[in-house]
């Protein structure tokens, strides 16, 4: 890792950011507990990554997502390790959007969520196709089955399935984070590195 | 080894547009003594400690300060720009967050601080175990830090700071969630440390401070209302009943003053116990 990247990561993860990233990694791994208790059909397994991307920065979000997948593998779900490139894309892209103020307006959040979903689908398709033949033991497998049965290759089938479901999933996650951070006190957010992502440059609130 | 602390006309605002948190505070805390800063919540006690520890500028970059802070030989115009570890040790109010949680044992937790100093001795046990013994927690060396009682956690948190041998020790409301026995133990430990360390502690009540402190400072709304000896403070007790919860003390005031003023054995013993002599 070059010195400047290392320095950027160290700067981003200093102070309160470091424990917050650790919390968000744990949140990625346990958010399913909340949705299961409320019987909501969402995974929210990237919610911590998106929170870090918005409140801290892109490098920290990449670390958050990668570490969450690594720990998920360590805790009994080894297939998560193969999707680390996907969470790198999610963290980096969301951090990029957040730095450009896309989490200040709801319509930008909506566009960003859809774009993120498309990118996630593109990033995960080759992994899912090559390693898993599109089989993830989830409801979306039927979509893959359908696309394959009408003559598409495994890669295309997985890609089409991803493009069908991922944008909606990421859109929801983006909005959840948008509404969560909207109501956080400014004096607390300012202690994390990404406070300027949520506040216009000359805003006094 | 202990450092003197001198604060001159120090004022602080969290930002240029917010009201002042501290207003023209001047204090002189001699080396090797214990100063108790008392005051209600919001008086500015923790803010003052953060300024002394060097975390204020770091965490509130928009803060505006004036005056000077001198710790030992080091003089700071307005605020120190960086955390003053290890010359200033700061024990936070909640000892549970002081414990990093990244080591499996109390011993490992304390070793973590030594590693951060960049100077780990060849035999870390030779440094850590005597410290644990001094704090009465050597039997906890192999225990998980998160499995301890409130009083034990407080002492382990203190050990994680003391292992760096700071010349100045700041304690933010150290007796929160501590029972009387644990408070008495902590008082004994701090008494033993005074010669080698200058101690500044904050509290909302008088009870813990009496018996160990050489100097009492009363802060209210960022201003110093009183700065003097415990004996002088007790003589002026009724001036501060709006700033501090003194319901337990005010009724005893006359008796305390009588015992202090009369040359009796009980009076001397009382004065000694209260640290008034």
């Amino acid at each position: 890792m070059s010195f400047s990247i290392r320095q950027r990561i160290t700067d981003e993860m200093s102070g309160a950011a470091l424990p917050f990233v650790a919390f968000c990694i744990a949140l990625n791994l346990t958010a399913g507990q909340i949705t299961a208790a409320l019987k909501i059909p969402l995974y929210l397994d990237s919610i911590g990554t998106i929170l870090v991307a918005v409140l801290v920065g892109p490098w920290s979000a990449v670390i958050c997502g990668s570490a969450a997948n690594l720990l998920a593998a360590a805790l009994g779900n080894p297939s998560m390790i193969f999707f680390i490139p996907v969470v790198v894309v999610i963290g980096a892209f969301t951090g990029f959007l957040a730095r450009r103020g896309w989490f200040r307006k709801w319509y930008l959040v909506a566009i960003g969520g859809v774009l993120q979903g498309i990118l996630a689908a593109i990033a995960s398709a080759p992994i899912s196709a090559y390693l898993f033949s599109g089989v993830m033991m989830a409801g979306t497998d039927f979509l893959v089955l359908y696309f394959r049965s009408v003559g598409n290759t495994i890669l295309n089938s997985v890609l089409y399935q991803g493009l069908t479901s991922d944008p909606a999933d990421k859109l929801v996650s983006y909005f959840i984070v948008f509404f969560l951070v909207k109501n956080l006190p400014q004096r607390l957010i300012s202690r994390l590195r990404g406070a300027s992502n949520l506040r216009a440059p000359d805003s006094t609130t | 080894m202990a450092d003197r602390i001198v604060i001159q006309s120090f004022s602080l605002q969290y930002s240029a547009t917010t009201p002042g948190v501290l207003s023209s505070v001047s204090l002189d805390i001699p080396s090797g003594t214990c100063c108790a800063i008392l005051g209600p919540t919001g008086a500015g006690k923790s803010s003052l400690l953060q300024c002394l520890a060097g975390t204020m500028q770091r965490h509130h970059p928009e803060s505006v300060a004036s005056g000077t802070i001198q710790i030992g030989e080091r003089l700071f115009e307005a605020l120190p720009s960086h955390v003053l570890f290890p010359s200033v040790g700061y024990a936070l109010q909640d000892p549970h967050v002081q414990i990093s949680g990244v080591r499996d044992t109390v011993f490992g937790e304390i070793l973590f601080t030594l590693e951060n100093t960049g100077e780990v001795p060849d035999e870390p046990a030779a440094v850590i175990l005597p410290l644990l013994r001094k704090l009465g927690i050597d039997h906890l060396a192999d225990r998980k830090p998160t499995s301890l009682s409130g009083g034990e956690t407080q002492r382990v948190a203190l050990a994680t700071i003391l292992v760096a041998q700071p010349p100045v020790l700041l304690l933010d409301e150290p007796t929160t969630a501590m029972d009387l026995a644990a408070q008495e133990k902590l008082r004994g430990i701090l008494r033993g440390m005074k010669q080698s360390t200058t101690i500044v502690l904050t509290d909302t009540q008088l009870d813990f401070a009496l018996g160990i402190c050489d100097q009492i400072v009363v802060l209210e709304q960022g201003k110093v209302l009183f700065d003097g000896t415990p004996a002088a403070f007790l003589r002026r007790l009724d001036e501060f009943h709006t700033s501090l919860p003194l319901e337990n003390w005010l009724p005893l005031r006359q008796q305390i003053l009588r015992l202090l003023d009369q040359p009796s054995r009980l009076g001397s013993r009382l004065a000694l116990t209260l640290g008034l002599k």
Partner: protein, 252 residues
């Protein structure tokens, strides 16, 4: 054998198995999967270190059998090349599809089993400490260790918030929209309290000098023999398999 040596050997074994997963025929891969399952019981350093990790491994074996079966059958059904090898409920399964499915499944299983076996037989704090001696930056090590700490606490904290919200009438059992609103009533205090705690923890770490100056490497007792031949052999074997496969591919 020191912890560091054991970890290095296991990492080298994972590397070898991953190389095999991408280079060797599926029949060998499948056999290696069976060997790994046997090793979980027979080889001491590869045994799960806690009952929870033993359960995780057993659960995963059952899950992976289901996944493998699904992959093989699905491909046998959809890749209509070659002769019909079998029929399931009258639906023909083609040989080429079944072979393709078998190749995919055996590769996936070998990759997954090797990782899982590594993790169930390894203490995460020991692994993180070992990686630190190999150059893992201290802030990354701290993030991972703190995460383990939060993973212990978070389920209970979530449960507490859930009960508190339920007690004040949050619609946790109503329609989907109401339950989604209830989601915010749980996430919001959770995130807020985590930021407050992070600020305090971050301050506490700085007050103990973390990252203020060059970190002293953890004092690790090294075993007398620095050269671990088994680790080196496993790495060389992995390289040999890779080179053999590349040469085969070039010749073909």
């Amino acid at each position: 054998m020191s912890t560091g040596q054991s970890l290095s050997r296991k990492l080298a074994l994972v590397l070898l198995l991953w190389v095999c997963a991408f280079t060797l025929p599926w029949t060998i891969q499948a056999s290696l999967c069976v060997v790994l399952i046997i090793a979980r019981y027979a080889v001491l350093p590869l045994r799960p270190i806690t009952p929870r990790s033993a359960k995780a491994f057993s659960r995963f074996i059952l899950y992976s059998i289901a996944v493998a079966t699904f992959i093989i059958l699905l491909n046998g059904l959809l890749i209509k090349e070659g002769a019909v090898a079998a029929k399931v409920f009258g639906i023909p399964l083609h040989k080429e599809g079944l072979l393709f499915g078998a190749r995919t499944a055996s590769r996936l299983l070998l990759l997954s089993f090797s990782i899982l076996l590594f993790f169930v037989s390894t203490s995460l704090p020991d692994l993180i400490e070992h990686l630190q001696t190999k150059g893992l930056p201290p802030y990354l090590a701290l993030v991972l260790l703190l995460t383990l700490h939060f993973l212990d606490q978070l389920p209970a904290r979530i449960h507490q918030i859930f009960l508190a919200q339920q007690a004040r009438g949050a619609p946790v059992d109503s329609g989907l929209l109401s339950r989604t609103k209830a989601l915010f009533s749980i996430l919001s205090p959770l995130v807020l309290s985590s930021i407050v705690e992070s600020i305090e923890r971050g301050t506490a770490l700085e007050l103990r000098g973390f990252l203020q100056r060059p970190q002293v490497a953890r004092v690790i007792k090294r075993s007398e023999s620095e050269t671990d031949w088994l680790t080196i052999s496993l790495i060389l074997l992995a390289l040999a398999v890779l080179i053999y496969r590349i040469v085969q591919w070039l010749i073909a």
